[in-house]
């Protein structure tokens, strides 16, 4: 399994069966591979509840997800227009949104739509999902391609919302937002606490249970 797949699998484990899930582009899309397709309902903001994967020979160019990739239609699926779709999102009817991020900070803020110095010309549904979904899970590589931390003290990129992300999952660790701060609740694979520390500039607490276990 690649590190991206491990992140996706870990995200899938956070989900309660029969919940309504919206998956963002990138690692979040991989989460679908670890879900029982009859027990989870995937929503895509361009207007479909009941997203499935599609075999190459069944691809319909007019049936796509929010990343404009071809998808399939589950039994019991439904289509709706964009205002109805975002009513579901903004109105709190999506149980979990799993999103990627450029940065996440100590205060729980997520930046995932714009890079300073580059043109700000696309946002899509990111802001609506971050505000509206009942639970937010961020899946991302722990550091950027240049090796700099993505889990930082304070976002230097424009934030997507002032709402905290509930869970942050990287190839190194899982962090849960609890009592106004992130708590490292689980180390991924053979990662140790020092690996996380060295690659993180954000403030976080290590959970008591985890410290207990490591003693």
């Amino acid at each position: 399994m690649t590190s991206k797949e491990r992140i996706a699998k870990k995200a899938a484990e956070q989900l309660v069966p029969h919940s309504i899930i919206n998956l963002g582009i990138g690692i979040p899309t991989l989460v679908a591979n670890y879900l029982d397709k009859d027990a989870y309902y995937l929503h895509t903001e361009n207007g479909l509840l009941g997203v499935t994967s599609v075999a190459e020979e069944d691809v319909d160019p007019l049936l796509v997800n929010a990343g404009k990739l071809p998808v399939g239609e589950a039994t019991g699926a439904s289509y709706f227009h964009s205002a109805d779709s975002f009513s579901m999102i903004r109105g709190g009817h999506i149980d979990v949104a799993i999103l990627g991020a450029l940065q996440v900070d100590s205060k729980g803020m997520v930046a995932n739509w714009a890079i300073p110095g580059k043109d700000i010309i696309g946002v899509g549904g990111a802001m609506d999902l971050l505000v509206g979904a009942k639970k937010i899970i961020i899946t991302t590589n722990h550091v950027a391609k240049d090796g700099t931390p993505k889990f930082v003290e304070e976002c230097t990129y424009p934030v997507t919302s002032t709402r905290q992300a509930d869970i942050l999952i990287t190839e190194l660790a899982v962090f849960q937002w609890k009592n106004g701060r992130y708590e490292l609740t689980e180390l991924m694979g053979d990662t140790n606490l020092k690996d996380v520390e060295e690659n993180t500039t954000a403030f976080y607490k290590v959970s008591e249970q985890l410290l207990e276990k490591r003693r």
């Binding site: 207007g47 691809v59 227009h81 903004r90 424009p158």
Partner: protein, 231 residues
């Protein structure tokens, strides 16, 4: 007074005038009125403000009008899907107004529904709410968003009946029904025109009162890209 709404793309597209604001349906090219856009590339209206989620793709759909330098401004949520947009924007040749996709959809619905403005939590505290009015409602901060309206809407549906009732196909529905409600003149491009009574009254998504003209599609999106239909 319109009795027969069935029209020819090249004729009805002349409804679009220089300086107009246009709504154009589609999520990328999916559900985009490709035949009407093609007709527009052969018509001379310029200085257009386009309300559309994207400006098509590079050289495709609305991307064709961009290359023709016919657009003054674009209002949408995700211009990244056409890599040429940034270039025009940076050279000062195209104005952009970026809205979160839910706010964009809701603003179009509001335009069609006679709503003067609405409060959303989306974008509060972000750069996209900069300069916008906010209000504290029941302890939470909301941003005021204004309705979007247009002179002409170009939408794509699956089937129309001869009265102008529309139904849509899968995720090609997207912004089309909303835009059909929010413009002074609405042109629907469809794959099939059926007799009235052939669409179930319960399944009609866009009632005929919203539709001024119907055009049969000539260009469609297939797995091989945009192609001419065999008719």
């Amino acid at each position: 007074m319109v009795i027969n709404k069935i029209s020819i793309a090249e004729q009805v597209i002349t409804k679009v005038q220089t300086g107009d604001t246009l709504m154009v349906g589609g999520f990328g090219l999916v559900g985009s009125p490709l035949t009407l856009i093609d007709a527009l590339t052969h018509h001379d209206a310029a200085d257009l403000t386009i309300i559309s989620n994207n400006v098509g793709e590079a050289g495709k759909g609305l991307g064709l009008l961009l290359r023709q330098d016919r657009l003054k401004k674009a209002v949408g949520s995700y211009f990244t899907s056409n890599r040429e947009v940034a270039k025009w924007y940076n050279e000062g040749l195209l104005e952009l107004e970026l809205l979160p996709q839910g706010t964009f959809s809701e603003a179009i619905r509001a335009g069609g529904a006679g709503i003067g403005g609405f409060y959303t939590k989306t974008a509060v505290g972000t750069d996209l709410a900069a300069g916008k009015e906010t209000k504290l409602i029941d302890g939470e901060t909301y941003v005021l968003e204004k309705p979007l309206k247009a002179n002409v809407a170009l939408v794509r549906a699956w089937k129309a009946d001869t009265k102008g009732n529309l139904i849509y196909y899968k995720t090609a529905r997207n912004f089309n029904p909303l835009m059909a409600s929010a413009a002074d003149y609405v042109i629907a491009e469809v794959d099939e025109i059926v007799d009235e009574g052939n669409l179930s009254p319960e399944e009609i998504v866009t009632p005929h009162l919203y539709v001024d003209a119907i055009v049969e599609s000539r260009l469609i999106l297939t797995r091989e890209g945009v192609v001419e239909r065999d008719i």
